[in-house]
């Protein structure tokens, strides 16, 4: 009997030890996860943070290295909008909103129908069309710029809004179709079937049942489309004029009072203004945006 209790005690001790070791391993693994997570956070956020901190620093302390905000001022934001050195940042902001807005609306208006067909209908050459649209989104911008440069020069469109909007559609529209197609595949299409059973035509079922349900997906796609148009630089840097240039070009060409002195703090302020709305948008709609970004790549 005594040996039995001793055995039991030994067994319990062993089990305890095993459990403790497992717990320790677990804790250690958790700890490593947290350390890695902190490294990722710093790597992703530190440069962006540095931009914002510098944007609020006095010009004289451009190269200040303290991590916390020091010598805080709003002057840089005033300088960013100042037009006396030939910068037209405020106007460029308006241009970017206008160009991005038109490109997004046009791409969605056209692309939603194509996405519906690709997600819902069976037809020949479906994969050929999908391949063509995917190929189009991977297309190098420089392959378009040369003929467009010549064409727009010939017809006097250089520096006009349409000269910036039309090439942007070449990469925003495929992105729209691609993202919407994968969103459409996830939708509860039984509802469409039942609407049709109840006597709707396919068109009515699409308008009255599917469109309202698809609204969040369309909104997410619109954000992605707008961001990619907002970020465009290559085409705009060649085809825009001072009056129509978007913010990316304005920031790249940002000039200071003296030609040999780079106005870092003002550029960081301009960068902050351009970035903050996007970051807020992205963080608010984080889940949807990640779903849209990764749509199609897996599934």
């Amino acid at each position: 009997m005594t040996s039995a209790t001793a055995d039991a005690a030994a067994l319990r001790a062993r089990q305890d030890k095993g459990r403790k070791a497992a717990q320790n391993r677990e804790k250690w693994a958790q700890g490593r996860t947290y350390i890695s997570a902190i490294v990722i956070l710093i790597w992703c956020l530190a440069p962006a943070y540095w931009m914002v901190v510098t944007a609020f620093r006095e010009v004289g302390f451009t190269y200040d290295t303290s991590i916390l905000p020091t010598h805080v001022t709003l002057d840089n934001f005033r300088t960013a909008f100042d037009t006396s050195f030939g910068n037209r940042f405020g106007q460029a902001l308006g241009n970017s909103v206008f160009i991005g807005g038109v490109v997004t609306i046009v791409s969605l208006l056209i692309g939603v129908f194509a996405a519906y067909a690709l997600a819902r209908l069976n037809f020949r050459f479906k994969y050929l069309v999908l391949g063509f649209i995917l190929g189009a989104s991977m297309f190098p911008g420089v392959a378009l710029i040369t003929p467009l440069f010549q064409l727009f020069t010939n017809i006097g469109w250089m520096g006009t809004y349409q000269a910036l909007i039309i090439p942007n559609i070449s990469f925003v529209l495929p992105l729209t179709v691609y993202t919407m197609t994968s969103f459409f595949r996830e939708m509860p299409w039984e509802l469409e079937e039942s609407a049709r059973v109840d006597g709707c035509t396919q068109g009515q079922a699409f308008r009255k049942v599917i469109m309202p349900l698809a609204a969040p997906a369309i909104f997410t796609t619109a954000i992605l489309a707008f961001i990619s148009s907002w970020n465009e630089f290559l085409i705009a840097s060649q085809l825009s004029s001072d009056a129509t240039q978007p913010v990316t070009v304005a920031i790249a060409n940002f000039a200071g009072a003296q030609p040999n002195q780079i106005p870092y703090t003002a550029i960081m302020a301009a960068g902050t203004i351009v970035t903050i709305p996007l970051v807020i948008l992205v963080l608010v709609f984080q889940r949807k945006i990640v779903a849209g970004l990764t749509a199609g790549a897996v599934k």
Binding site: I110, Q202, A297
Partner: protein, 345 residues
């Protein structure tokens, strides 16, 4: 790709005859497919027409232009010439790095001219592509593995990785230009006095670091989406069978995440091959950071047709790389995005 059309059993329109697999509703099904085809044609028409105008038309005119001589002063006669057919001379000039000579023939382009930079720009483009995509794959995989774990604050990390992605590349370039300034934080932090954008290797690394910072999140999110498709019980079963963590990674994670990983690598590779904004703004293409895209842009104002030839070469290079990926490395993007959708019946 044409051979992969329609994996569904019914794909031919109702064209007479009753194939054996037709069940009771076979004929109705055929009609439906035919009417769906008409519907699809109408719905797809605007997109196809729009892409035809904004992509196919410029491509064709670029190819046409690339076989034309650039208008300009004829070096032999000193008179203005309007161009005319050049045959494949523009392509030969780029590939052999030949420039027009005063006697009407061609000579090797002197160093520093655009014509003499083709091969170095190609090498730079591929160097950037290979290094950035490799770094982004490894870093992105690691980030995805962390973000796939359960821990408090996970959603914060997932939100944070979107920040570099959301910043426009032009702003990213200016931000890193400031970080890599001579008196900037990078030199202060590592106690170095490197002229980052002033000499070849620091300039190249500045571009690479900025690009990796900006695009790793995209890679990580794609891989994370792939990781989340792996059912947890597969890991549990492997654990019960005594597989070590490394074995579980090698035998389960890697093969199952491979399709998503390949698509992510393909996307990033094609994106990196056309890299423009970052080196153009960060280094201005100086110190051997000129990519093919930058070379095309610099050439445009010196002659459209020659630039068109170069952009066509760039396009062909990117197309070939995509082809190799899809054909030999199994990055089947179309099938990934099309064949297994839930909505399909």
């Amino acid at each position: 790709m044409a051979t992969e059309l329609g994996p569904t059993p019914v794909k031919a329109p109702a064209s007479g005859g009753t194939p054996v697999h037709h069940g009771p509703k076979g004929v109705g099904e055929d009609n439906r497919i035919a009417s769906q085809g008409r519907w699809a044609a109408w719905l797809l028409a605007p997109t196809v027409v729009a892409l035809g105008i904004v992509i196919v038309y410029p491509i064709i005119s670029a190819i046409v232009m690339s076989f034309q001589k650039d208008a300009g002063l004829d070096p032999a006669t000193g008179l203005f010439t309007a161009g005319g057919s050049a045959g494949i001379q523009n392509y030969v000039n780029w590939l052999a790095q030949q420039c027009a000579a005063p006697d009407g023939g061609t000579v090797a382009c002197p160093p520093g001219t655009l014509g003499g930079q083709f091969w170095s720009a190609t090498a730079t483009t591929f160097f950037f592509t290979i290094v950035t995509v490799a770094l982004e794959s490894v870093l992105g995989f690691w980030m995805a593995m962390i973000m796939a774990r359960e821990f408090r604050g996970r959603s914060m990390v997932r939100a944070a990785v979107l920040v570099p992605w959301a910043i426009p590349t032009a702003v990213t370039a200016k931000l890193w230009f400031f970080i890599f300034a001579f008196e900037g934080i990078a030199n202060k932090l590592f106690n170095t006095t490197i002229l980052w954008t002033g000499s070849e290797w620091p300039a190249k690394w500045a571009v690479i670091i900025a690009d990796v910072w900006k695009t790793t999140p995209f890679m990580a999110l794609l891989i994370l989406a792939g990781l989340q498709m792996i059912p947890a019980d597969v890991y549990e079963a492997a654990k019960v069978d005594g597989a070590t963590a490394w074995q579980r990674f090698r035998m389960i994670t890697l093969p199952l995440v491979k399709p998503a990983l390949m698509v992510a690598i393909l996307f990033r590779t094609l994106d990196a091959l056309r890299m423009f904004d970052l080196p153009y703004i960060l280094t201005g293409g100086a110190n051997n950071t000129t990519t093919l895209s930058i070379l095309v842009i610099n050439q445009i104002r010196q002659g459209f047709n020659s630039a068109a030839a170069l952009s066509t070469i760039t396009f062909i290079i990117i197309f070939l790389v995509a082809f190799i990926f899809v054909r030999f490395l199994g990055a089947n993007v179309v099938e990934q995005s099309g064949a297994t959708g839930k909505g399909k019946k």
